[in-house]
Point group: C2
Chain length 360, copies 2
């Protein structure tokens, strides 16, 4: 039975990754124990964490100016941690308000200093990314924070804002990291909760320009300092070993299927097919501005809430799960991360057509 799981995260992992993790779950490389049981300082796990980082650097084309850190707490912990470390005293940080997660990041930043919104699409329920020429940016800002893909509202930056000199751009890429080619050197820091495109929940991956870690005030505790993760290669304390292991398997899978260039083409095709099905119907509607539609989280609705609920229920019975929209906005949402194959999108479109025919 193939079940296509459209959850926004935790989400489907590549079938090959799941099968491999299962096969070696109790006996990793013939050592007689599972990877989850092994010391984080032993030879086997050292290989795992080093290979995961190496693959990720290769896939994302990350230069040596940047550290890759594995930090517990997900993206939500990064909301406070980044401000604690990087919001310089006496300066102000710029935040783009393009969704609920960015708004949460802004809220935490204000605990640690001055933070200002440069734009907001909140009034129209975050249905678009405000045009960059309307943003009120501060050229002296200590950093600019954006959310590259808005999981709840279903929007995504197709291009990124201009990089101003001395204003590092920090991006929460939780829901579109490793789904398309981006230029890491345009960013001061990129972070992502792992549970969408990278692996299981329980970890954020942080890509940080090493020089920025020097900003951290002495008052920040050890576990919340980026320098701790950089200096100790994410092994200051026991890291989430199983999450790092699964992330490593996912990076191997990405390399095998041809890396980001190939993945981006597939992701674009999947999204194009699904949006075409929505736009080609009178029954389904997307509330999102066409230019800003996410290739990862496709938000749509039927003519009314009762039909939305029926859709979710009947789809699940047809082995298409996790299609309920986020509790904050309702409606429907199909999250089609890297691990969702085109066959899953086709199955969903087939179901949509059938559901429309029966309920039109």
């Amino acid at each position: 039975m193939t079940v296509y799981n459209f959850s926004a995260g935790p989400a489907m992992l590549p079938a090959a990754v799941m099968e491999r993790a299962k096969a070696e779950f109790c006996d990793y490389k013939g050592c007689g124990n599972g990877i989850v049981e092994l010391s984080h300082r032993g030879k086997l796990f050292t290989e795992v964490i080093e290979n995961a980082e190496k693959n990720f650097r290769e896939i994302m084309n990350i230069s040596d100016d940047y550290a890759v850190c594995f930090v517990q707490g997900g993206a939500s912990m990064q909301f406070c941690m980044l401000a604690m470390n990087l919001l310089e005293k006496g300066k102000s940080a710029d935040y783009a308000d393009t969704g609920v997660w960015g708004a949460k990041a802004f809220k935490e930043a204000k605990l640690f200093g001055d933070a200002k919104l440069v734009c907001s699409s909140k009034e129209t329920k975050y249905d678009h990314i405000p045009a960059f020429d309307t943003w009120t940016r501060n050229p002296e800002a200590t950093y600019l924070h954006i959310t590259s893909n808005n999981t709840v509202a279903g929007t995504q930056y197709m291009k990124f804002p201009e990089v101003l000199p001395n204003v590092p751009m920090i991006a929460d890429m939780s829901s579109d990291i490793m789904s398309r080619r981006i230029n890491v050197s345009d960013f001061g820091m990129i972070y992502a909760g792992a549970q969408k495109n990278l692996g299981p929940s329980g970890m954020a991956v942080v890509i940080i320009r090493k020089d920025l870690a020097a900003r951290t005030p002495a008052t920040v505790p050890t576990m919340l300092r980026y320098s701790t993760y950089i200096d100790e290669k994410s092994l200051f304390n026991t890291p989430p070993t199983f999450a790092i292991y699964l992330f490593g398997l996912v990076t191997e899978w990405v390399k095998e299927i041809g890396g980001l260039d190939k993945l981006e083409i597939i992701n674009n095709q999947k999204a194009a097919r699904l949006y075409a099905a929505i736009d080609g119907s009178e029954f389904y509607k997307s509330p999102v501005a066409k230019a800003d539609r996410s290739r990862m989280n496709v938000v749509f609705r039927t003519p009314n809430e009762e039909l939305d609920a029926a859709f979710v229920k009947e789809a699940a019975a047809a082995n298409l799960t996790g299609l309920k929209g986020h509790r904050l906005v309702g409606g429907l949402r199909a999250s089609i991360y890297n691990a969702m194959p085109m066959a899953g999108v086709e199955a969903l479109i087939g179901f949509m057509n059938e559901f429309e025919r029966k309920n039109r």
Copy 2:
């Protein structure tokens, strides 16, 4: 092939837990996806987290005055988080210095206020727990912090210090939680990194008296406030779902084998056998005061460092792994948590006898 893994953590999990997790890794309860792929807000995971907490409360006999929270970052994150939340302004916190982890907790506390050592066995390499009547306690302390079992040095509190009125006792029980009967109501808070007796790495389990969470200053960010975890039942953000799932399986295993009363007897027997083998030989030595010897981490050594190294190597070849002492102290260490069966301890003793015979 049975490999007995004596690692201090991540450590062996019960074989039955590992087999079950493997069997349902790709298809949890017939849903067509693995638990690691499922939404943390879905029905299946909701059952998992609720059952895990329910079992744990039952096993540990935790009253409704206490919340059970699942927090990312391990015990090391708790070192700062507890001080951030509970070290009241204008007051001082008491810390017992009985090992390297307690010393780290003390270091982080000093970032958030006044903290004082009430005792220390550092000068004798933490080879004992200082007698309670020598402690210089402050009856006005905002809390008292202890480390119930010292993983590195191999000591353990057999009894706990007297509970002073208005001084909540906070215990890091990372390496002996759920290994023996304790009275939770003697403590204001108990926390433990999961990767020894509870499950995999990537999570701390926190038992906190609910009224203490009101102490948290308004300046503490959302993800670092105990109230966030209490109010949202550890689901404010995406929790480490796979770690909680494995923890839940471990709690079921504990119940099946007869709960803490049974486990404590088995743990005492395992430790008694191993210490008897050490004490009964002229070859092996324990550096730890007899009265304070840990039932979880048995620290010992051969007559010299070369033999220690040979012991670790030859033991591994005999499928007895993870016996190297902590990098800070050297020597040998056998961690015999709940999941280590008596057969593993017997195999180790057999090997020790053979190694002694060959190298005496």
